[in-house]
């Protein structure tokens, strides 16, 4: 592996961790100050661990500028137009791909990682949770994330050793004269609702069906439905389809953090990799837990699960390998090109 530079890219979703669920559940509020602190720690740790450059997505909250203020090093906030929406993340991830970024750190929820995957399908990614029902990202401190990203970006720790290809739900929507392609990294849900509204899916009676590629009982949110009756791990192939309705098991589910409800399971079945499932009719699609796209009565949604998601970097494994290779010794602080050991 040869790289011209050891570039770490960072994306912070300014909107994550502040939605309506703070009002109806004890979900965590993630302030801008908290996000700035995480990114700041990640930048410092990245330079400490051999990054030659840090690229940051700009945002309407100026979190990138605040996080990088007065840190010495080659830091660049991308010069790109801002929409103030998820499309900023998609665009920044695409720019990172073009710029041959070696590792991306993304702060946000499942939706933020989803947007990274749309902008850069093969992104080498460390996903830090600052959202609500996060399944794809993890609670990782910026210090550890920044160090791991730098070790991977520099090639000091080999990406193929510490990263695994994640799964995604590949979605095709045909609705009258429109045809759209989309994806989810955790789950696609069909919601009986007229509106996107406040986005979060809170009413259990409106959930018609869920396709999950990761379903664990250790999560909260829509993926926890399947997670409590038919768990599917992050690294298992395929996923699970659940249809809600009368006549089946009644399961207690934390649809939001600290908030439990009973959901009645009409159908549950395993989905093999690539196995297609189609549902027609009026619905609102929720991608990774948030209502996002209304589909008309004439629409058909086809989805399948495949292992073509982002390359998810194992931060702990990366740092263990770095420690075993004495990379934290004073003499190893300036890790040079081609000095990777794994």
């Amino acid at each position: 592996m040869t790289r011209t530079a050891s570039i770490v890219g960072m994306i912070v979703n300014p909107n994550a961790g502040k939605d309506i669920r703070r009002l109806v559940t004890p979900a965590t509020h993630t302030s801008d100050v908290t996000k700035v602190g995480i990114v700041r720690r990640a930048i410092v740790a990245a330079f400490e661990s051999g990054a030659s450059k840090v690229l940051l997505m700009p945002d309407n909250h100026r979190l990138a500028e605040r996080a990088s203020d007065r840190i010495k090093g080659d830091i660049e906030v991308l010069d790109m137009p801002l929409s103030g929406s998820r499309f900023d993340t998609i665009a920044a991830a695409h720019v990172f791909c073009q710029a041959q970024v070696g590792a991306v750190i993304a702060l946000g929820g499942d939706g933020t990682s989803r947007d990274v995957a749309i902008g850069w399908p093969d992104a080498p990614l460390i996903a830090i949770s600052t959202g609500t029902n996060n399944v794809f990202p993890s609670a990782i401190d910026g210090t550890s994330a920044g160090a791991a990203a730098a070790f991977v970006a520099s090639g000091a720790v080999c990406l193929s050793v510490v990263a695994r290809r994640s799964k995604k739900v590949v979605v095709k929507i045909d609705d009258r004269d429109k045809s759209l392609d989309d994806l989810a990294l955790v789950d696609l849900a069909f919601i009986n609702s007229m509106f996107v509204g406040a986005r979060a899916v809170r009413d259990p009676h409106t959930v018609h069906a869920v396709i999950s590629c990761v379903a664990t009982p250790a999560s909260t949110g829509l993926s926890s439905i399947a997670g409590r009756i038919h768990p599917v791990g992050r690294w298992e192939t395929g996923g699970v389809f659940v249809r809600l309705g009368a006549g089946g098991r009644k399961v207690r589910v934390p649809l939001a953090p600290g908030s439990f409800t009973t959901m009645e399971i009409a159908e549950v079945r395993r989905l093999g990799e690539g196995e297609k499932i189609s549902l027609s009719g009026k619905t609102v699609l929720a991608f990774d837990g948030e209502r996002d796209l209304p589909v008309s009565a004439f629409g058909t949604v086809t989805a399948h699960i495949e292992a073509t998601g982002p390359l998810l970097i194992d931060v702990e494994q990366t740092l263990v390998l770095a420690a075993q290779a004495l990379m934290f010794d004073e003499t190893a602080r300036h890790i040079s090109e081609g000095n990777h050991v794994y």
Binding site: P14, N15, K18, D19, I20, R21, R22, L23, V24, H29, S31, D32, V33, N60, H61, R62, N192, S193, M194, F195, V196, G197, A198, R199, R202, D203, T206, P294, S296
Partner: protein, 331 residues
């Protein structure tokens, strides 16, 4: 939470009433037919409508200098509002309050307020009284992003949380304090980040989406009514007109492209499209509603035009209250 068809039409009607009243007021001001200042609510209709649509008739609200929308959303009478704006004796304040003091206590609307940030402590007082009287009423303080830099807001938020009062703080973050962009007056972007400092939950909603606002408002109001205490809703919104309602003054504090971008997400038109798409409404039905309410506006303008000005002998009437009790003594 699914919104019933009846409630959808209710929210739509509130928004259209605000839009038509405000645009009519703007035209009258530009024609020099309204005395005093005018601050129009056009563009922000989803916030007042979504919140007031979650309130009971006897719940209280306090307002801002941009207060017409709040009164309309609470059920304000066009005739009396238009007469007040024209300074006529048939107006809500008998023509002596004008735009920035418009109120209707019978609707629980405790007044617009010309002092930035001054409404929030009044709402706290109403919330305190409501809990004291035990009638299950809730108070809502409407306020702008700029007012959260004012001491009165902080004192109000602190007292409301310390006393665990039945109140909802409804912030209309339109990104500008008069002619100054938000980032020049505060180091934070989201007002909701301030909520935790007082010990209350805070949420952000799309203030151009009446359903999003209403969903949050229903939860916040119910929480307050059930004894859950204060909460803060920050609605990201935008005013189409300048700080005040007169157009074409050559003010260049915000780019035209920015205004145009926000208008693409117009809260009324996007909601109408969804209602029609969902089969709840037809274009014909929507057009009927606009036509009916336009007629109401014309009637209100005529009513105001035909109404007399207050006479000079009324100048001191209603200025000071007649106190029937003295503290520490029996009435």
């Amino acid at each position: 939470m699914e919104i019933s068809t009846t409630k959808q039409f209710d929210l739509h009607r509130r928004m259209v009433r605000i839009r038509l009243f405000e645009e009519a007021a703007g035209r009258l001001a530009e024609a020099n037919r309204l005395p005093g200042f005018l601050h129009l609510y056009v563009g922000e209709e989803a916030v007042a409508s979504g919140v007031c649509g979650a309130l009971n008739d006897d719940d209280h609200i306090t307002s801002t200098h941009r207060g017409h929308g709040h009164l309309v959303a609470k059920g304000g009478d066009f005739n009396r509002m238009m007469a007040e704006l024209m300074g006529k004796a048939t107006g809500y304040c008998k023509g002596k309050g004008g735009s920035m003091h418009i109120s209707d206590t019978s609707l629980g609307m405790l007044g617009a307020n010309g002092i930035v940030g001054a409404g929030s402590p009044i709402a706290v007082g109403a919330a305190f009284a409501n809990r004291y009287r035990g009638r299950g009423q809730v108070a809502v303080a409407f306020f702008g992003d700029g007012s959260t830099n004012i001491g009165a807001f902080h004192e109000a938020a602190n007292m409301a949380c310390a006393l665990h009062l039945p109140i909802v703080f409804a912030c209309e973050n339109n990104e500008y304090g008069e002619f100054t962009p938000r980032h020049k007056t505060m180091a934070i972007t989201d007002i909701v980040d301030r909520a935790a400092g007082y010990g209350m939950p805070g949420v952000i909603v799309d203030g151009m989406d009446v359903i999003a606002v209403h969903e949050a408002a229903v939860e916040a109001v119910e929480r307050a009514r059930q004894g859950g205490g204060p909460s803060l809703i920050e609605a990201k919104t935008y005013r189409y007109y300048n700080h005040h309602g007169i157009q074409n003054l050559g003010l260049k504090y915000r780019p035209d492209e920015e205004v145009a971008t926000w208008k693409q997400r117009d809260p009324i038109f996007t909601f109408e499209d969804r209602m029609i798409e969902n089969g709840v409404a037809t274009r014909e039905k929507v057009d009927e509603i606009w036509a009916e309410l336009r007629q109401d506006i014309e009637t209100a303008i005529q009513f105001a035009d035909d109404s007399p000005y207050p006479t000079p002998d009324q100048i001191m009437v209603d200025v000071y209250t007649k106190s029937s009790t003295t503290i520490g003594t029996k009435s």
